[in-house]
């Protein structure tokens, strides 16, 4: 019972959401790391072209949806390069 009560209390206290800018930075960093992971796997020949293309497309969609500013632009460029590589 104790954990359930703790759960309920915690939920009430936890309404905070990280500030917008930080969230954006996190999203961009997360997708840049994903693109790097996909690129290394592709160069090692572990994944075919279409997997890399899927990642690049998904990155482009999600970044342009959630983030703006120059970091986002840099990440979008990286996604584009990856898509080119795997054409």
């Amino acid at each position: 019972m104790r954990t359930v009560v703790a759960l309920a209390l915690l939920l009430a206290a936890c309404g905070t959401k990280p500030p917008e800018a930080e969230l954006e930075k996190k999203t961009v960093a997360s997708w840049e790391a994903t693109l790097a992971l996909a690129r290394d796997a592709y160069q090692r020949g572990d994944v075919p072209k279409h997997i890399v293309r899927n990642v690049a497309e998904a990155a482009t969609e999600e970044i342009s949806k959630d983030a703006k500013g120059h970091e986002a632009a840099r990440a979008l460029a990286a996604a584009h390069d990856l898509a080119e590589q795997a054409r």
Binding site: T3, V4, P18, S30, T34, L37, G45, V47, R53, A58
Partner: protein, 408 residues
């Protein structure tokens, strides 16, 4: 009466179909990526409740020869039974659409062709498997194919996880930094919502009645519930651990299945993406079979129609038409381009809201000697069911605000 193994097969398919599906794979992967081992306890807790609820479904059917839907109508009357059935039908419609979406995503990983084009072929194959297949064929085929998910366990072990923090994460919540707690608890709620899915009870209890279980099967019913659900739990934990080893160190938050597709590559190299694609497709297919049947069972049993997967469709016209219509309606959102992962998260939040209404009859039926005679619930069983209802209510109440704060 089927031999022990085939009974365990019912447990394993229920577990594969219900446990390992588009929702649990996604939430386990997201949990591992964002919070490393910090949410394994949610899978363990969900599994514990599930083992009790699945065992009870089997016991109710074996002793009373009634399925849950039959018993709920007979014990509480039609004017009560109809409301949870309608609520579950709506949830099953959405979850079925998400599962078919999962199969399509698996095929997208394997072929690169967009998920939307796979919707109709997958729906046709699913419908055909139910139309022509019997419960035995479907059970055994999915169980064997489901064993492919062992690939996740192999990958998890190959990635050398730190066993101590892993064990600690399995026992109690690991509180994240303050600003991440919204997402932490949302993922925990999603895991519980994905684990305890009502359609599993109806599928398992109808399967038990259709297989003609009797009181002598209570022992193997308990084993089946434990083995089946633990198998599913092991797989889910493996998905979480592999994701923790691959994505967490790189600070990757999983938002799309295209990202999750990379999860097995570091450990299994060339075999990573094919095994992921096949496992995702097979597990979601098993879940889609289970949801379609569970919905048809529950409607047929509420209205007293002839039902049963082992007979020819023409002999069960209304039953077979029910799953046929449900399948082809459920792919509409997918055809309209709704993202399966988003539909999954939403349908799991809805499941959490319907859960209390689906589980409450259990407490009463399993304590009603007219249905289960001397095999009534023990105090532990009652405590777990009441705790699950209480938790399901919290999950239901909290899902909406969390959806806003967390990661909906």
């Amino acid at each position: 009466m089927k031999s022990g193994f085939l009974q365990i097969a019912l447990g394993i398919i229920t577990s594969i179909g219900g446990f390992l599906e588009v929702g649990s794979i996604a939430t386990a992967a997201q949990a591992g990526a964002s919070f490393r081992y910090g949410l394994i306890w949610a899978i363990v807790l969900g599994t514990l409740c599930l083992v009790f609820l699945i065992e009870m479904s089997g016991r109710l059917s074996a002793v009373s020869k009634h399925t849950i839907a039959d018993a709920v109508r007979e014990r509480f009357g039609f004017d009560f039974a109809v409301w949870p059935r309608l609520a579950e039908l709506l949830v099953n419609y959405l979850v079925l659409g998400a599962e078919i979406g999962g199969v399509c995503l698996g095929l997208k990983v394997l072929t690169g062709i967009d998920a939307r084009w796979w919707a109709v072929p997958v729906a046709l194959i699913l419908w055909f498997a139910l139309w022509v297949g019997t419960l035995d064929i479907i059970e055994n085929a999915t169980s064997i194919l489901g064993l492919l998910t062992i690939g996740f366990v192999v990958a998890a072990v190959k990635m050398h996880p730190d066993w101590i923090p892993l064990a600690r994460g399995a026992v109690a919540p690991v509180f994240p930094p303050h600003d991440q707690s919204g997402q932490y608890w949302f993922t925990a709620v999603s895991i519980l919502g994905a684990t305890i899915s009502p359609y599993m009870f109806y599928f398992y209890s109808s399967g038990a009645v259709e297989d003609g279980w009797g009181e002598k099967d209570l022992g193997s019913n308990r084993i089946t519930a434990i083995v089946g659900m633990s198998f599913g739990a092991l797989m889910s934990i493996a998905v979480l651990v592999v994701s923790a080893q691959v994505f967490n160190p790189l600070g990757i938050d999983l938002k799309r299945y295209e990202q999750i597709a990379l999860v097995l590559t570091p450990a299994l190299h060339k075999w990573g993406w094919p095994i992921f694609g096949i496992s995702l497709a097979v597990c979601c297919f098993g879940a889609a079979v289970e949801i379609s049947l569970a919905s048809a069972y529950s409607i047929a049993q509420t209205f007293g129609w002839n039902w049963g997967e082992d007979e020819k469709p023409a002999q069960r016209a209304r039953f077979s038409l029910t799953y046929t219509i449900l399948i082809f309606l459920s792919i509409i959102p997918l055809l309209l381009g709704v993202d399966p992962l988003k539909q999954t998260i939403f349908s799991m939040a809805l499941t959490a809201i319907v859960l209390p209404l689906a589980i409450l009859p259990f407490v009463l039926l399993l304590n009603d000697e007219t249905f289960v005679g001397t095999h009534r619930n023990g105090p532990i069983g009652n405590f777990v069911v009441t705790f699950t209802i209480f938790m399901a209510c919290i999950v239901a109440l909290v899902t909406i605000p969390l959806e806003i704060v967390g990661g909906g």
